[in-house]
Symmetry: C2
Subunit: 431 residues, 2 copies
Amino acid sequence: MQNLKGFRDFFPEDMSARTHVFDAWRTVAQRFGFVEYDGPPLELLELYTRKSGQEIVEQLYTFSDKGGREVALRPEMTPTLARMMAARVTTLPKPIKWFSIPQLFRYERNQRGRLREHFQLNVDIVGAAEVEADAELLAVALSVQLELGLGQDDVVARVNDRRIVAGALGILKVPDENVAAVYAVIDKFRKIPTEKFTALLNDAGVPTDSVPELTRLCNGSVAIFDWFAPHLASIDETTRKAVADLERYLGLMKEQGLSELVEVDFSIVRGLAYYTGIVFELYDRKGKERAICGGGRYDDLIASLGGPEMPALGFGMGDVVLSLILRDRGLMPAAPPRADVVVIPVGAELAAAARQVTYDLRRDKVRAETPYSPAGVGKDLKTATQHKIPYAVIVGPDEWEAQEFNLKNLSTGEQSRVPVGELADKIRASE
Amino acid sequence: MQNLKGFRDFFPEDMSARTHVFDAWRTVAQRFGFVEYDGPPLELLELYTRKSGQEIVEQLYTFSDKGGREVALRPEMTPTLARMMAARVTTLPKPIKWFSIPQLFRYERNQRGRLREHFQLNVDIVGAAEVEADAELLAVALSVQLELGLGQDDVVARVNDRRIVAGALGILKVPDENVAAVYAVIDKFRKIPTEKFTALLNDAGVPTDSVPELTRLCNGSVAIFDWFAPHLASIDETTRKAVADLERYLGLMKEQGLSELVEVDFSIVRGLAYYTGIVFELYDRKGKERAICGGGRYDDLIASLGGPEMPALGFGMGDVVLSLILRDRGLMPAAPPRADVVVIPVGAELAAAARQVTYDLRRDKVRAETPYSPAGVGKDLKTATQHKIPYAVIVGPDEWEAQEFNLKNLSTGEQSRVPVGELADKIRASE
């Protein structure tokens, strides 16, 4: 029997790697004052089609359950968040700061090596309009990288503001009805050659005169703040505020010592239509163009899903790309051994004594085991080495009598005599 | 929009309770030397029908995916475990000790208040024929109860051995072809009145003379060991070994100080056909007859699923009944606050100073936050109280100058002046 294509088995060594990433996600989100929630992996299909339309059904695991309900395995967490929020958003004190680590599912055809499930850290702030919230959100995403050992040479956050792009397109005289199409082209900037890019801009309705300037904005040969400077007096309030917000945002990242991990990038617009302000994507500096994480502000989303008007922002960070980068940098720790110590009796008549030592160690919260049927000290030591258990306690008749045992380090071979009451501390100290 | 009937939303306070149980599960399993694994929540339908036949499909969430595969949401973990083991069981050093915490799914009709998903701790030992392994398995299940604060007045493990039941049915002259039907009746013993029980035994093919004696075995008015004593010379080797194993098993539970949590109960046979030896179920002593946990030895299962001959045993412990009992006993802790401390500036001009203190506290691994837009000390303290945050650091101009801040305990109102370098330790010490 095989597992389903695109679905992962987590053998203990894989699970250990997954736990390493999850632990960093939880630790950092909690350090910033976020609390964990979860929803069901199966939801009514309508939760997804209502906002995203029927086309999303193509990519969903969807079916009719035995009660005739149209249901789907969750492809993203935001609709569940919005559904859960709807019940409480008006009564909960603001800002609401929640995170979750759902497993998400997409049926994607014909994608070599592409998974059909992944885990994703979702971090959201609801009820905060301040740019300080945007800065905190990005700081969470970046602090996860630092927690895992990645630094400014490894990852970069590319940040932008949807309102700035809208303002620039206004200045560049892109007709309103073409703006959505132009966003879609800008979103492809890093994935296609420049010639192709400029051709697509033309096709999308950017005036021919404006194409070179828009291209320069995207490739960074003109900085956003420099480019807007001569226009600041004449542009609308929204754009002017967006430019000021982005400057303040960068200042807040600097305050936190995270500047070297952040770059302004006009080509970051995020594919999804629901973003309304600052947006960001995290990338591997050395790798191909696969995002580690993406998010931003979506102030209209909760209202559009039937809730009240409520500023909100959030990001999603998947486990797959992040884990690839950690492995690439040698930052994924090996799986820990299943126990800290094995207790080995010298002869079967001491098996009960060895079990007693094992029970006592467990009571002292040491991960301990003893052979179910002792096979002799040599063989039992060999088994312990196969399991990569770092320590052995050898229980001989004299040691049992004296309640003082030989503690053997199985990698160095060192051995020392330790009173029973000190065993737990000794083993823990050397971890 | 609603969630699906039978599926739970985990709001932060629910998630905190779930995490409390999961943490106990993980801690105890690891203390006994078990390592965590996981499989996909979606598997090929055949994985379940192969062993359990088509009737299980009734209770499954099953559908055809877009590639035409018949798939199912996992209703139990053992088939996934057996599938994963098949790839490695011959090469891994024995005993293999694995645990997992899957979410499982069953479509059950017409069951009031019955959930369609739950989480289940699965603990399995593969490659160990010794009764010491059986005893360790039960010790894990019971140690979880102790870890969560439950004791001998709260829970009881009822233990038995399928071979003993088979032996007794032989002595009581139940024809071989009726044994399966009699198991099914014995399994109902605690759920039906005695009259009904004896009637069903008759119907199932127990000789009329034997019905009273079988009933006395089930209700415990005769102890298993006493009942078998006169037969020991004449019964088959398997039954004799089973009786000896059960005695040894009880001795091993006593060694671990767990005797008061264990009772022999002839009526425990476990519904599933695949158990081959010692079996057990955990019950709430005060509650109704809903099992917290069930498991036992299933030496034939891995071979029957296409693997090699391999002794194995395991249990499953759901989160729903266990959580109900913890709540009933007042043992489910309240959700922790989202942060340990809020840093509040005296006036907006000190907001940047407050942020700096916040960043430093986070660097020292304290869960800290500061208002995105300070609203004045009084209002910000009120918000912190709403969020149940236990401490506030007040950042005034003199304090910022002196780098010494007022640390306020928000439940007692006590306040003390603390140098910036000692804040983190002070807050952590009082947790």
